[in-house]
Amino acid sequence: MVNAECGQLFTIEGIAAALIMLATVFIVVNTTSVYTPGDTHVNDMQLEVIGTDALKMLNTPVSMSGDGKSPLVRMIEFNDADAFNKSFSNILNNRTGADPDTIQFSADISYKSNCGATKNGVNTTHFTHSERARPKGGLFGGEHAVHVSQWIILDDYNTTTFKNVFPEQCGSNSAKRAALVEVYLWRD
């Protein structure tokens, strides 16, 4: 005579095993994350590469005849924001086949202050921003921006010799100085 309870063990065990497997698969399928393209930071990296390239090329002299300065240094020494807007925007958005890209930017310059209350500290002043950026200083906080920078060497901070962009420098400092051009980039 078959023991009537032995058989039930099979059924219950089968159900138990089935429930275990179903529960596992439910948990696993629900927790494996789906990565959206934004999570992978690939777009950020691509934008940063384009930005550093563009800024570096703008800081390369076109040729060594003449004073041998790069276009970027000349534009900052003469505070020529329009020229910077035009050429930087052009370089950033140039593509081989298609229509131009839509990258916007906002540029600041950091320099070491040499007089006044902030003497020997580092000041940052806004240089310019692209056309379609908001009127007030360019960056309003809603963009997903990357940050690129480039070192330049200027002939002097003397705002009377050039018309450069440093508001807190005192005159009569005609030594060469270094400054950092920092640009925030985002896609519109």
Binding site: N3, C6, L9, F10, E13, G14, A16, A17, A18, I20, M21, A23, T24, V25, V28, T31, T32, S33, Y35, D39, T40, H41, V42, D44, M45, E48, V49, T52, K56, S110, Y111, K112, N120, V122, T124, V148, S149, Q150, W151, I152, I153, A175, K176, R177, A178, A179, L180, E182
Partner: protein
Amino acid sequence: MNDTAQWIVLMGFVVSFSLFFLAVILNQSTVVGQTTAEAVSEFPKEDIRGVRTALLQSNMYWASVNDQTNIRLDIENISLTRQNAVIRIYAPISVNDTYWLYPIHYNNGVTEYNERWKFP
């Protein structure tokens, strides 16, 4: 105790564990693309290149000592406050009177870079 039916539950457990294992591995693969891009962004290649070019440009033997010092201090200060990187360029070392070595040091907390640039 008759436990011949235990193997059904055992099979159930085997299947669950293998599913978990698979899921863990698959989860890692989606991170591959992300960590590659993050690694590229995190390594300060362009920062190091820019600092190096600026320092070498200013430190050539014909530049006035005043200019060299000013630019060096500017770069060290601005780099510390804006880029969170420690930069130091040391006095050039002359080798056999035939060439100079310019030691450059960069450290942003994650990446450290040391170089002795030979010129000419």
